[in-house]
Symmetry: C2
Subunit: 144 residues, 2 copies
Amino acid sequence: MFSKACEYGIRAAVYVALQSLDGRRVSVNEIAEEIDSPIAFTAKILQQLSRSKVIHSVKGPTGGFELDRTEMDTVKLSMIVHAIDGDDIYVGCGLGLKECNANQPCPLHDKFVDIRTDLKNMLENTSLYELATGLEVGLTYLKR
Amino acid sequence: MFSKACEYGIRAAVYVALQSLDGRRVSVNEIAEEIDSPIAFTAKILQQLSRSKVIHSVKGPTGGFELDRTEMDTVKLSMIVHAIDGDDIYVGCGLGLKECNANQPCPLHDKFVDIRTDLKNMLENTSLYELATGLEVGLTYLKR
DNA sequence: AATAAATAGGACAAAAATGTCCTTTATTGG
DNA sequence: CCAATAAAGGACATTTTTGTCCTATTTATT
Ligand code: FES
Ligand code: FES
């Protein structure tokens, strides 16, 4: 469904949001540890997220990654997925035709578009805040 | 969503079904031509589908790939996806945790499972016959 | 100013997915 | 039997994704 990079990216962003709720800024090392991901690879992904304004980065001692409270509401999963995986998942044809086109649909088009639309809506309506709060309460996990 | 191999596999299987409706057996070359896919790679995928009993293969002159009419109804997309991409799409965690586990869910679990279940149902309820008939009537396309 | 801590970024490495080529095996028809 | 045809399969090549390592840059602290 999502690339590894995207999975790590979402988990990382949720962790940053969670810690930002307590006003804590977090380092790449801490993030990678807490979401159980390869450190250097995670660093690349955090760079991408930072460039796409999904999270903020601060250099130097006491630096790290953070998010302000208001952004946790406005940043939706769709932005993260788009920043890392691009828009294939939103506009691509399920059977791999050049583009999805309702005028010359592939045999799976109608059924596929239904699912894709649900997925898109879900991603567009899910904020980092929402995901972070479940974690805070101890109901969900970013690693096992 | 699906791998390239899986996309080609579905398109190939639908084309085989379509031609089998007319009692025509088709070669790898014809299939690759008609679904616009790389020949040798398509051959490998057809081998997989044949081994998984999704389609039948016949060697030698006048050989090729075919499906009997009754199988077109019983073969569902879920079988093709499972044969080629495995069961990740059915049982994997959306955020990449080792396995999807409702007792220790990732933050996206509930919402992800909804989508995944819809996708699973769609694949399990869609037969090759259904997809082939749309093609036959000229309403859908396997290449553009 | 010097040091140290932290992200940014480039170059490289490994693994997986995608794709190609060639030989083998089975089968048909002459 | 022989030749031709088509799938099966093994080995290899290319591309993409995933992952690592090292250096540069920024900045807080002393
Ligand atoms: S054309 Fe294939 S999903 Fe729309
Ligand atoms: S645990 Fe992540 S989707 Fe179920």
